[in-house]
């Protein structure tokens, strides 16, 4: 996955990353915007995600319904996703058909219409999306933990947004958000696959360079203050199963401590898979699995960090064994955290984490969409070099580094512990 690539910034500020890969007659093209829930204020939470939905509702050149049919007809797949820090759109298509994807993206960077009737019908679709999530105990718990962990930083709300805002946001709110953030100087384009570099770059210039540079978007994110003491909360809801989510504060992905923390995550909970288009591996010999699941305190445990612009969270999610109490599981978790703080990890354990990361990298490189994804994704929180040097940086992590970050970041006084309490037939 470390083939050479080319980086160019167009005169309007659009950064373009290109990588030729000739293993299959496929091209994957991505446009990334630096806008997500991090750029939202109270009253307009969920606006970035809703704008993403509206980007499928058409422009004068590609009206809704023409757009999706055109891509599908050519045998392409396309989709979009909104996250804490970014919104991304992609088309993966047969190599000789990618021009449609390029034309579509340059068009909807500026020409989306946001017709009031489309906004109205999408409002109910998005409310329905949120209701679907609300069916899931882990969504309800995760949302409560996140909003408790962040008071002033916009990471406090879910990307989907709060129901109150989804009911009241207006067409103009959405359109203004679009106009503010969808400017070439706030975007990154990443294309990988079966093309010739010069021709692809010339075509991208032709389509995207005429788009005028925009005003640099204003950022609303404010720094979260340190937390002084553990916070515990509970969420009640239907079901028979208890869950516990414990979240610690993690640094931004560009922080050097992100690497030892990644190795520590691998030791504790199994390697997190950062590939979006390729599955991960099991974690049955991770320390937490052995201490919690093997000992029949929990029936599953998962841990994971996110690569973000600002400091976010490391979450450990446990499904509690039906015969156990959440407190017993938290106590066992604490013993394992204490162990990584007090004892150095063995060389073998560290080597194992590196090999796991190397294997996950290889799986990810089977797929052109995933390779294009990485070029843009890494740019959103650092740069592509972050990705290219990732394995080397992991390989330099020492036992001492791991112990240091375990003590620095896994502090009980700066964590949030959330418990999902199942009502088990009782009425709320």
């Amino acid at each position: 996955m470390t083939n050479s690539h080319t980086e160019v910034t167009l005169s309007n500020g659009l950064k373009v990353l290109l990588k030729e890969i000739h293993t299959a007659p496929i091209i994957s093209s991505w446009v990334w915007y630096r806008v997500g829930s991090r750029d939202e204020v109270q009253g307009r939470t969920g606006i970035s995600h809703w704008v993403e939905h509206m980007q499928f509702k058409g422009t004068p050149q590609f009206p809704a319904n023409v757009l999706d049919k055109a891509i599908s007809r050519e045998g392409g797949v396309w989709n979009a996703m909104t996250y804490l820090d970014w919104t991304a759109y992609y088309e993966t298509m047969p190599a000789d058909k990618i021009d449609l994807g390029l034309r579509l993206e340059s068009d909807r960077m500026v020409n989306s219409q946001f017709k009031p009737e489309e906004v109205a019908s999408e409002r109910t679709v998005i409310i329905s999306e949120r209701e679907g999530s609300e069916n899931e105990p882990l969504f309800m718990l995760g949302e409560a933990v996140q909003q408790t962990a962040f008071r002033v930083h916009p990471y406090h709300h879910e990307v989907i947004g709060d129901m109150a805002d989804l009911r009241t946001m207006t067409r103009d709110d959405l359109y203004n958000h679009y106009r503010e953030f969808y400017v070439p100087n706030n975007a990154v384009m990443a294309v990988a696959g079966d093309f010739e570099m010069d021709k692809m770059l010339a075509r991208i210039r032709e389509l995207f360079e005429p788009i005028p540079v925009g005003k640099e978007p204003a950022r609303v994110a404010r720094e979260e203050l340190p937390q002084n003491g553990e916070v515990r909360l509970s969420v009640e809801g239907p079901g028979a199963t208890s869950y516990v989510q414990v979240c610690y504060r993690f640094p931004a992905a560009s922080h050097p401590d992100f690497y030892p923390l990644t190795v520590l995550d691998s030791l504790l909970a199994g390697p997190s898979n950062l590939n979006m288009f390729s599955g991960g591996i099991s974690n049955k010999t991770s320390r937490l699995y052995r201490a919690l699941v093997d000992k029949e305190l929990a029936v599953s445990v998962h841990g994971g960090a996110q690569a973000t612009v600002d400091p976010f969270l490391y979450g450990i999610t446990m499904t509690i064994h039906p015969k156990r109490k959440p407190e017993e599981v938290i106590a066992a978790l604490d013993r394992e955290i204490q162990r990584v703080q007090e004892e150095k990890a063995s060389k073998e354990e560290i080597a194992r984490a590196i090999k796991q990361a190397r294997a996950l990298f290889a799986y990810g490189s089977e797929n052109i969409t995933n390779q294009a994804f990485w070029m843009g994704y890494a740019e959103m929180f650092a740069n592509y070099e972050w990705f290219q040097t990732y394995l080397d940086k992991l390989a330099k992590v020492t036992a001492k580094d791991i112990q240091r970050v375990a003590n620095e970041y896994f502090k009980p006084q700066s964590r949030v512990v959330g418990t999902y309490v199942p009502l088990d037939g009782r009425v709320k």
Binding site: I26, V77, R123, E131, G132, P137, R358, E366, L423
Partner: protein, 424 residues
């Protein structure tokens, strides 16, 4: 389609197939684009063998295969696997059970050893069986709260009434509680064996090397008296539309499934039905159904249709997640779309669009090792021929509007639908 495309499609020129003396069929295709390898396959030990009173038995057995073998403990097995960043897992289906694993190519021998050990010499240690049981039962508790899972279960109960397909492969809490360790041992002894087993290896390994390694790991497996799968009873056609709601209190959204029986994978109707289904509830943003239910009425975040076709009759179903107060309205819109689908043929443009879509997206579905492995498994399971993916474009383009209308009318009768909902 260009020559360049064709060369990328698997075919007799680059798929290697061999049947080992013990009955295992091996298929391999090399792909040196990435240093990784995928191993997957299936064998004849599915949930069809489960007695009603111990439903979930095949699922329990496959989940327990890696909980300990004659050579290694559970922790040792996973330690070997996870230390090299590899994965391996088993799952059960109705007819067959399957496995799926991957590793760096350098670790293929170890992956195959662990696969062979788990298949041939599992010991089902009692303590591990009990741990696993608690996990399976928790899984069933979670399923009972999942509107989509429960709607799907109710749908199968209506559509496949009195047929083994009506049964959930993961069983029910009371049947899983009844399964004893001896049942696992017995199930494995009677139904597991090399006959009927298929294994595919795709990735950065030469064909002859891959086959050599499979032979070394699994070539010596012999089982006397491996039992045959029971005959599938005929399916009773539905006489009228049957609706059933499964109540789950406290949920914000209901899941809705409306559908009917579909063709088998080997039926000549399969491709016309696939194209018809694409028009009905897949193409673009979920076809006609998505257009009516999501885009126009704004009733659902997801609405579309799917066709699942296997060795026996499959299902053809439309599903949507909707606010509980909109279930009736969404249901009416879907049934009226189904009526339109059987009353009038699809347009020439719709058919052409879907044909282009099927042909165009083929290289994408065959891009990764996992994608090629699935293709090889399909070829073998449904006897499609090694050149199937090279003939695929013609098979797709040969379908006419009339073919689509005929299958729509053969399988969909809007007076005889299974309608399942789950939610508050």
């Amino acid at each position: 389609m260009t020559d360049k495309h064709n060369s990328a499609l698997p075919g007799p020129n680059d798929i290697y197939r061999e049947v080992l003396p013990n009955g295992i069929t091996v298929l391999t295709r090399s792909n040196f684009n990435s240093p990784s390898v995928v191993v997957s396959g299936y064998f004849d030990a599915g949930a069809l063998f489960d007695p009603d009173s111990k439903l979930g038995l095949a699922d329990f057995v496959t989940s327990a295969l890696m909980r300990g073998t004659k050579k290694r403990t559970f922790d040792k097995i996973y330690n070997e696997l996870e230390s090299i960043g590899a994965s391996l897992g088993f799952s059960s289906g109705v007819h067959k059970s399957g496995f799926n694993g991957r590793s760096l190519a350098e670790d293929l021998p170890l992956l195959l050893n662990l696969l062979a050990e788990s298949l041939m010499a599992p010991t089902f240690p009692k303590t591990e069986v009990e741990k696993l049981r608690a996990q399976l039962l928790t899984g069933l508790d979670i399923r009972a709260q999942d509107t989509s899972d429960m709607a799907s279960m109710v749908f199968d109960e209506i559509l496949f009434k009195d047929h083994p397909y009506s049964r959930p492969e993961d069983g029910h809490p009371e049947t899983v509680k009844r399964i004893k360790q001896d049942d696992l041992v017995k199930f494995h002894r009677e139904y597991f064996g090399p006959r009927g087993m298929v294994i595919v290896v795709v990735g950065a390994v030469k064909a002859e090397e891959a086959v050599k390694q499979v032979k070394r790991a699994l070539g010596g497996w012999q089982v006397k008296g491996q039992k045959e799968a029971p005959e599938l009873p005929p399916l009773k056609p539905m006489k009228k539309t049957v609706k059933r709601h499964h109540r789950i209190n406290g949920k914000s959204q209901s899941d809705l499934i409306i559908g009917t029986v579909g063709p088998k994978r080997r039926d000549p109707e399969f491709m016309p039905a696939m194209l018809g289904n694409n028009i009905l509830g897949q193409f673009g943003l979920m076809g006609r159904i998505g257009d009516v239910v999501r885009e126009k009425a704004g009733l659902a975040y997801y609405a579309g249709s799917s066709l699942s076709a296997g060795l026996g009759p499959g299902s053809w179903e439309v599903s949507a997640g909707v606010n509980p107060k909109n279930v009736q309205k969404a249901s009416e819109l879907i049934v009226s779309e189904l009526k339109r689908f059987v009353d009038d043929s699809v347009t020439a443009e719709e058919l052409k669009d879907s044909q282009e879509n099927f042909v165009g997206r083929l290289p994408l579905s065959l891009e990764s090792n996992g994608g090629i492995a699935n293709a090889l498994l399909n070829i073998e399971r449904f006897d499609l021929g090694l050149d199937y993916y090279q003939r695929y474009e013609n098979i797709v383009r040969d379908v006419s509007r009339d073919d689509v209308l005929k299958v729509a009318r053969k399988f969909i009768d809007t007076e005889r639908l299974a309608i399942a909902t789950a939610g508050p």
